[in-house]
């Protein structure tokens, strides 16, 4: 009887006590539907598994800013024929005990690209034929046609699994990372425990429990009461405690995509007027948090090839009105109602921001209406094929690029064949092709040239904000969020004070 009482008391107590010692509880905004390694590029999966359970050959050090770093590959170099040779780390074992070698890398790559399994990985290797060839146990070649200068960067997206892994989604991921999956109660929690036989430095964290709460106020409350240690994403309104709350640029960019084939948006004066009619400064600190950057490209400043010389459009409603009059005098149908399309719950204050933009545009003389759609329907407006008979539209979307290179965005958003592209400009296509094939400084220069051309001459879209997110962290931890936190949270970064 006494034992039962003691256990009861213990159970009641542990239900409400905060985490002890080297355990951390992390509360995320959505559950990971799958933990399949080849889906780790999807943020709700990668947050849990990337660099924790599964590792990659190379690793982009966003936190330290040192660029591309070795992980499972110790070194790499481009051969004379354009292929890349990777020298792999030795003495690495998977969590199931098997040794890591080049055959595992090839198997992981082939598996991820296999059409029978529908992973996310193939989309990063689109537009090229690529194959992996085992040279010896610790050397592997990647051949790509056309030659890929950023292949090592692309390999930050390929997680490595043992070659015996079946070609179907697995629920018990096995990897070389410092943690292994010990519990998965769907809908409730996922638990990762540290491995003893990890090849690298042992992390300070021994157990990590991931919880899921969709409501941001609840997430913030959980860290406040000690029920969780880290809430990587809370709302700006709740981030009031300077000791625990941190803001960070989260690599998402909000912009309005313009379709240049529909009047009156096919006239560059009208597009310039759109940009000048919006008082972007007025949003800072009001509808978007302080620290939000005004965008001049769809990728944020730390990205290679971001052009600091491209200036944000000045707020000039008078000039905007003048341009509209000019266009009207030339017979352009500037009074056609323009529709702003938004996606529900896309980002905080979505509705208010678009309503404010609508008001600003109307004050400059445009006729504007706003419509919101849920995800599925919104997709049909955002990606090709576009609907017939649509009017002029400003499709407001949020694009994520934390990979460090514009090539992950530019083709899709600006090439003539790009799925979300609203333009068909041969100079743009040419610049994209040349920049994607270039290396080093030449590459950066070409991307900069493209950014300036798109922003100032073509006036391709209405770029708005580089978004900022907030995290809440228990004071006993030494951890701050980085730009990659949205898609990856390496537990090794967490230290205790």
């Amino acid at each position: 009887m006494k034992k039962a009482l003691l256990w009861g008391a213990f159970a009641a107590a542990t239900a409400m006590t905060p985490a002890w010692g080297q355990d951390v509880k992390i509360v995320l905004n959505e559950e990971a539907d799958v933990l399949e390694p080849c889906m780790a590029t999807r943020s709700n999966v990668g947050r849990i598994t990337m660099q924790n359970i599964n590792e990659t050959l190379t690793f982009l050090d966003i936190k330290g800013g040192s660029g591309l770093q070795p992980k499972l590959a110790e070194s790499w170099e481009q051969q004379a024929d354009g292929s890349w040779r990777f020298k792999l780390r030795q003495g690495v074992t998977f969590s199931d005990g098997t040794t890591f070698d080049a055959k595992d890398v090839k198997a992981s790559f082939d598996r991820a690209m296999n059409p029978a399994i529908t992973c996310e990985v193939p989309r990063y290797f689109g537009g090229m034929t690529i194959s992996a060839e085992v040279v010896d146990d610790h050397t592997i070649d990647f051949k790509a046609d056309p030659v890929q200068p950023i292949l090592p960067l692309l390999l930050t997206l390929l997680t490595i699994v043992p070659e015996e892994t079946p070609v179907e989604f697995i629920r018990e991921p096995v990897g070389t990372g410092p943690f292994k999956l010990t519990e998965w109660t769907p809908g409730q929690q996922i638990v990762l425990t540290a491995r003893d036989d990890y090849w690298g430095e042992k992390p300070a964290v021994t157990t990590a429990t991931y919880l899921f709460r969709q409501d941001p106020a609840v997430r913030a409350a959980m860290v406040a009461t000690g029920e969780a240690d880290i809430a990587p994403s809370i709302s700006a309104q709740d981030a009031t405690n300077a000791a625990t709350d941190f803001s960070y640029l989260d690599s998402e960019t909000v912009y309005a995509r313009v379709d240049h084939s529909i009047a009156p948006l096919n006239d560059v004066r009208v597009r310039k007027a759109l940009n000048m009619a919006i008082d972007r400064q007025a949003f800072l600190g009001t509808l978007v948090p302080d620290g939000t950057l005004l965008a001049t490209a769809v990728y944020p400043p730390p990205t290679l090839g971001w052009n600091p010389d491209v200036k944000v459009w000045d707020y000039n409603p008078e000039e905007a009105k003048k341009l509209l009059e000019e266009a009207r005098a030339d017979g352009v149908a500037v009074d056609t109602p323009i529709t702003i399309l938004g996606r529900t719950a896309n980002f905080p204050n979505n509705v208010e921001i678009l309503e404010a933009v609508q008001q600003m545009l109307q004050e400059a003389g445009f006729t504007v209406e706003v419509k919101f759609y849920e995800v599925a329907e919104f997709e049909t407006y955002y990606s090709k094929p576009y609907a017939e008979g649509r009017g002029p539209q400003l499709v407001v979307a949020m694009h994520d690029n934390s990979k460090g290179d514009p090539s992950f965005s530019m083709y899709f958003k600006y090439a003539s064949d790009g799925r979300q592209s609203g333009i068909a400009d041969p100079k743009v296509d040419d610049l994209i092709a040349r920049a994607s094939a270039a290396t080093g400084d030449e590459r950066a220069a070409l991307w900069k040239e493209l950014q300036a051309y798109l922003h100032d001459e073509v006036v391709a879209d209405v770029l708005l904000f580089h978004m900022v997110s907030f995290s809440r962290v228990n004071e006993r931890l030494d951890w701050t969020p980085t730009m990659a936190t949205n898609s990856m949270l390496p537990l090794a970064d967490i230290k205790f004070k």
């Binding site: 106020a217 309104q237 949003f283 009001t286 509808l287 208010e352 309503e355 419509k371």
Partner: protein, 307 residues
Amino acid sequence: MSHIDTIPDEPKPLVRFARMLWADKFALAAVLFLLTVLVLAVAGPHWLDGAAQKQNLRGRNAPPFEWERGWLWVLGADALGRPLLARIIVATQNTMMIAAGAVVCSAAIGTVLGLIAGYAGKRTGEVILRLADVIMSFPSLLLAVVVLYILGPSVGNLIVVLSITRIPVYLRTTRAEVLEVRERMFVQAAKVMGASGPRIIFRHILPVVLPTLTTIATLDFAFVMLAESSLSFLGIGIQPPDITWGLMIAQGKQYLTTAWWLSFWPGLAIILTTLSLNLLSNWMRIALDPVQRWRLEMRQTRKGETA
């Protein structure tokens, strides 16, 4: 032998109702509130539409009860600096249209089907009941998405979706009452006397069923307003800048801990409307029932009139 005075004539119905209303102060307050809502629903947008649309980013989320700004800002401002009082008044029209439309449609259709199900033959009854079962199991969001895709977003379709999902409760409640009432003596008597089916249904059964249905309908008003809130939030039906109380509540959700007034005032509007409707329906239940009327009429006589 006592002298009996002539019994005074019963006063006219209007006067009678006014007196009964006066006897129940809560119901009186409810009626006045509902009349105000009605007036605002009709005249609101015309009167305050301009004021409700004016954005002022610097004045966003202004707190309530700051009298210096003017009476329009007494309830505070929303996330775009627009005065909440004006927004609520303008939103009354859409809210009432949708809520009243959905409740009246679902109640009418549900009741008629329920009456048929209860009174007509076994077969018809079973089929209608199974229809009710199917509707109860069909998730309202899926219905909303399907209607949205096939018919496009509009206020009318929102009303269609909201009313379909609420039909079963009226249907089943009516049927249950019909099952009970049709076995009663007075109904049997009417039958024997040759009254036709519809006559029995409408003259004898419906009056018995109506009070419960009214109670359910008045609370359904609130449920419909709140359900509309989540559907509009998802982009099905009311689109910004059009507003309803429900949409204002949904948009104010993220500010619950910092700018509570964004969700609070429209929520209060819904609560007060529901409360008023319910108090009114409780009052009507008593006032319209000859057997119960004495409860209200007697209260007046305590003032000293001879009974």
